[in-house]
Symmetry: C2
Subunit: 408 residues, 2 copies
Amino acid sequence: MLYSKLFGKTSKTVSADEESINAQYLIRGGFIHKQMAGVYNYLPLGLRVLTKIQNIIREEMNAVGANEILMPSLTQEESYKTTGRDNMEILFRTEGPSGAKYVLNPTHEEIVTPLVQKNVFSYQDLPLSVFQIQNKYRNEPRAKSGILRGREFNMKDLYSFHTDETNLDEYYEIMKKVYHKVYERLGLGKITLLTYASGGAFSRYSHEFQTLCDVGEDTIFVCEKCNIGINKEIIGEQTSCPECGNVDLVEKKGIEVGNIFKLRTRFSDAFGFKYLNAQGVEQAVEMGCYGMGPSRIMGTLVEVFHDDNGIIWPESIAPFQYHLIVLGKEDETFEAAQKIYNSMTAAGKEVLFDDRREVSAGAKFADSDLLGIPTRLIVSKKTLVQNAVESKLRATGQVEMLDLTKLL
Amino acid sequence: MLYSKLFGKTSKTVSADEESINAQYLIRGGFIHKQMAGVYNYLPLGLRVLTKIQNIIREEMNAVGANEILMPSLTQEESYKTTGRDNMEILFRTEGPSGAKYVLNPTHEEIVTPLVQKNVFSYQDLPLSVFQIQNKYRNEPRAKSGILRGREFNMKDLYSFHTDETNLDEYYEIMKKVYHKVYERLGLGKITLLTYASGGAFSRYSHEFQTLCDVGEDTIFVCEKCNIGINKEIIGEQTSCPECGNVDLVEKKGIEVGNIFKLRTRFSDAFGFKYLNAQGVEQAVEMGCYGMGPSRIMGTLVEVFHDDNGIIWPESIAPFQYHLIVLGKEDETFEAAQKIYNSMTAAGKEVLFDDRREVSAGAKFADSDLLGIPTRLIVSKKTLVQNAVESKLRATGQVEMLDLTKLL
């Protein structure tokens, strides 16, 4: 991609009401643009990052045999009356023709339960899991953390269906591992902790995945032996590590980047969703749900990986792998840089080429630091004399000269 | 994909209120599931088709240098007051915290114009085009044509920005070609006609792309020399072919699968979006918009490509390329079929493997006809004796024996 052709430019300032680092850097870098509080546009750089996060999540869900579907956002209010959740404060409401009452789904239990119900009759149809990557709508009273907490935001939600609690428990453990694998691939593995949180009517705990970060909204108590957390909300009832009994817990801040929950029969009961067991007897279907927010993860990555000059994207989700910068004014240098860009792109490498002529070296470096692409490649008269480009890693600052013959 | 693991099964019947062929076959095949009138769930088979259509469109938009972005669905009503479109009947409305008035975007001129305005200052920043693939919300009084006309539906919308009318005209001609190329790749090339339709305040015509189809909502008059159409809505003022003057026009029905429109300065004027020309003088930005609906195209493909037994997908957007069917009861046959499936999948081929043991050959063939995957491969004791599988093309019925050694 030529920077001169890229929609969305860097800026030095950002509106004073953007308090969060993620909003500041993502807006200044031209990744996102705020529509209104909690609602953002994704510009090309931001959409590239978001799509990469979604694809990693999608691959790992597919790898365990979950079926991808796409459920709508508009739904009849009636479905929420069935589950008794029609009074949730966060519901956005609207009306269809003749005043029919609709809501914008803040989550999809009310949609997925009757949908799966139509396809499951006997124990032979179970277990089964479906997921989607879709927007959610929540009328949050406060939406001040950039893309960490939105009114319209992106979510991967997976729902699993089982014959009995044992089967649900087994799947739940599989999903814990899948979640850890996703965070690992996103570069958040070591600092994202399985965290015990409050359950519901049917289960003692739910589990969150908390990424340790000083600006996190959640307070967790960490067992540093097991590398797991306990959300402050349950510390009254759970004062030691549920896994090793350790009472020497360390208070930290976290951003919730995932949440998994045993719904048990909360929703299948509401919709009368039963299956026939091997003896031909009707049984309630056991359910689990597993959420993970790509847009929130994108914000978390910025909160975790940045310095005073800008973002430091992990390789796996960086918008581009290389930021090619040409210095000087000579046509020959620009032509050489263009050739390098063409060769690298033809070889399938993701390169953002800062081809601007009128911009100073200092301004290009500042933009490059802000955008946070992992490897900066500098082409100048000086490097070309050595038949080389200068490479600098955004994360470590490590500089080396790369031989052009090898690079191409 | 194993059919036994696929979420969404075929059914022989469909609710009587589904009048359209696309809804009947897509629901019976397990591609989609109706949430309510005009709102559908996409099951795995349907989502695969939709994604392929989106990707073809995306590739062609990228190929002409358009930048992909993603704009939100929730937007402040105020933006529509600015353009005087806040009274459109099709607007879905909702409220944010403290009663702030929001709408769900039925199209995105009100979002994209101020967004691009923030990034364009001088003639050097133009021309520029951005597109997105995003849902639209329209409170349609009637929504009875399956996924041809939805209240929540998927759309590719591209917006272009220019210094002057000549530049807009040039780009508009480029987009006509791009649109034809997309329909070509979707298998609709020959029957999709550029059609003159009513313009607006600023231009004499807009152009639709109409796919000839007896169930189409639009009536068009076709010049069979030029292969273009004239929408009935303008036939009063335009009674001959605008390209060759031919008055011998043939009345046909069409489904509008795309619409391109010169907005001129309708929206840039409303938002005060100007640029500085080379002489430093402020000028209004000229705009074009270019819509194409992936979900409507999916419905159109079914309306056009089907027979009495089901759908006949074109290769480019079929959910799978091969429908592998195993017949008989013997373990050896199933194991052989499983091996063929494994080899083909490992070679990157998209195969749906009907691995059901309890289902008759007749039922499997009926399902296969309904699903419409281009090539059916049959594995049985009989074919294995010949070290072969029987191949049958869904479109032509052509049957041949394929040597297994060659196939793998």
